[in-house]
Symmetry: D2
Subunit: 259 residues, 4 copies
């Protein structure tokens, strides 16, 4: 009964009129970027220009990470059997979970916990960070968002944090995560903040709800998955064995926007 | 054997260096938009500023179309059972096919066929369009990209075409589709070009390969699906019956960027 | 390095020889049923004939529950857009979660907790059941596996339990769940054990590991999802609005195996 | 309007009564096997005992083919990232397509085409087979269902065909496929009929509709995928690199039902 009349606050459709969160979609088109529309769709309000630029940087940072991540391999595996584009992309999206992309969610939780302890005590951020690091050490757990298989200094993190500073967006989230990294360094381990961690800190400073954590990784990675599926289906033979790491790069040579 | 060494041309990963199609990702971050990165990932080259603006408009146009489309309903249905975000989004993506989003692919095929006939004959675009419309009529088939369930004048099409004109991107693809619409009107039926048709025409004028047709719809719609999944899980009770059409809008009031 | 040599204990493939858990597949074919092969694949050993018959009953019990459950609706929604069979089935499988099918997992947990309390104390099953029911009541939570939207006496439960008795498979799992139902009845609420609860109790009496809980629901339901996808694509028009409850039955008339 | 009242002929639900294709599900439970219920769900009628035994053999034959097939690799890849069981199984199902499992559909088409030519001409099955083989050769295409990467004499095919003879189910479908294999042999190539081909021939002799071709492969393989997902999550570490072929078998030793 009541089941059949329900409310949604995302989009309103009338004949010849489509409104996203109140704005006519044809007014938005040409006036805002896709990133701004994403923020509007998820958050209900348009971001200002600083937040917009940071959002673009976040989404660009995670658009692809080569053919080795499980999401790319699952999408290529499905594509290799003749799956349609959407089905192969879906197989990739199904491989974005706790251990791949999920660090954003987990790291947001750690940062929130830290900031809450700061708020509820008279302790400093660095004091709380040191406590948490020793607690994690005691239960032999890693802190999500810190450490990387390949990168000792994740270039995406460096850029996200410098941009966030420049744009005035960096706040307690970034401070907390940097303090955690420092507290780990103080125990003798020099681990980088990885891109998932950096995104987690920024999502907190952007007041994004925790349940959207992985959404940004998923949205950012879908175009990368599309690129892998199309490359697999246009350049490789069906049903080949896809080795997860023995592959090389044959794309455009190293170049710069300044060229 | 050869199976274990293969090539990919999308992304190159080295310690502390990630390059997308040759560009350092940390150089791209802060300097290009997500739409531009999408174009780079799929096409291998950066778009110019006119193409970038049109791409944003295309992606914004398709970010959501309310709770009625099958992709939103499938995503909400999965979400309602307690699916994780990525799994619910995947269920939505699996519902983007020939009859939902697929009109972009089909319409690109019709336009390409028309332009090929023009190229191979001395006939005009409008002449070829008239021929094709009568051929479709003879086999009682609709031309994909023309006609809409709700909109008699799809506002997204109007805006995409005016932007494409303004930006100098509109070409033979747009001309061919407009000619087909006109040829249908000449038979007495006034049908609008829908947003899928408009995107198809623009993808042709942007020289996008046919196999990427539905990729744009999928990439654009994923953030909309995320919004539906989050709304379902945060505002509705689990396992409710989701009526496909008896729903109302309770989001922000109608407003304008000028407000 | 070690990553590239790993072990699997399910199937061994040699030229002209396929062995499932040690048995030649061509020896199994013709000699065992599909249910027995499922048990062998998951458990590593063949079930005896009593367990086999119960397994068939469990799988038959959950093969379909009409067009209303979310898994059927999601599969039909995807199918309606032109999805391929496997993609539409996958959309259905993605809608089997905590609130749909997940009661098997949750109920197994409750029963295990109860049996552990019995083992660790000198209390009787009914005493522990009464304690647990009042604990659940105190935190206003329902016990998974008890209660049903439609059935006041789930016919599938009745049959599963009578078969399990007859075959000598019913044990402490069934006893614990019946005690919980009774303890609820003693508080004045007469709720049936539903089919998910009955399966949970039997999986415990069959010593199935907890992580396989939902596997049985998924495996049982896939053929039902196939039937819905095929019916949708062969009898309905594409992109129709699929009402979740306003549908009727037009299949074979009520009949009996004795006819 | 009419959209909201629609018909389904699979299952009828009333309070305390669930009927599958007209039969009370609690009457079916204990009296029929899962395979028989699958046939009933898909076909609308119960199979006789010979057909039932063949169905079991078909489903058992395809329950698993080790860790190398793309469906197992995709399911394990998703599982390795922490996907829930249903999502990992869905990723596997999404990898069952034209080049993996799809041979059943394609081979059914070839056999049907052959039998139609026989019916419409006065030619023998072997004559038509020879014609088709030379036609395929002329366009350099392989006939689906004949040939295998590993097996020179697929043991599953041998058993399916001998069972089908014994049970009196083998008919023109089997004869046509055997004639095609012979016609290929006559050109000097000794290729085996693989299990997909054997299933295709039997589905034709069982009068199964073409659109159900891949359904049998999907239904049969789901339990195998479950076994791989559970094995991956219980014996391997998350996010390992999964090599597609460098793996060994460490399950039960070779054994026989006669032991």
């Amino acid at each position: 009964m009541n089941d059949t009349t329900w409310k949604t606050g995302i989009t309103q459709i009338k004949p010849n009129e489509v409104r996203l969160r109140g704005y006519r979609i044809d007014e938005l088109m040409g006036n805002i970027t896709f990133s701004q529309a994403i923020f509007l769709a998820l958050n209900g309000e348009l971001p200002d220009s600083n937040v917009s630029r940071l959002l673009d940087a976040i989404l660009v940072s995670s658009i692809d990470h080569g053919a080795t991540p499980p999401s790319a391999l699952a999408a290529r595996t499905a594509a290799s059997t003749g799956a349609q584009l959407n089905a192969a992309v879906a197989a990739g999206v199904l491989s974005i979970n706790k251990y791949h992309g999920g660090a954003i969610f987990d790291c947001m939780g750690v940062i929130q916990e830290g900031l809450q302890r700061v708020a509820e005590s008279e302790k400093s951020i660095s004091r709380v960070a040191a406590e948490m690091v020793s607690e994690f050490k005691a239960i032999k757990k890693r802190i999500a968002g810190i450490g990387h298989r390949i990168h000792t200094n994740d270039p995406r993190t460096v850029k996200l944090f410098s941009l966030a500073e420049e744009l005035g967006v960096a706040g307690d989230g970034v401070a907390m995560l940097k303090a955690l990294k420092q507290a780990i360094a103080d125990t003798g381990k020099d681990l980088p903040i990885n891109v998932d961690g950096a995104i987690a800190a920024l999502l907190i400073d952007l007041d994004m709800p925790h349940e959207l954590a992985n959404a940004f990784f998923i949205m950012a990675r879908v175009p990368g998955l599309v690129a892998h599926v199309v490359e697999e289906q246009t350049t490789q033979r069906p049903m080949r064995r896809i080795h997860p790491t023995h592959h090389g790069y044959d794309g455009p040579k190293a170049r710069s926007l300044e060229d």
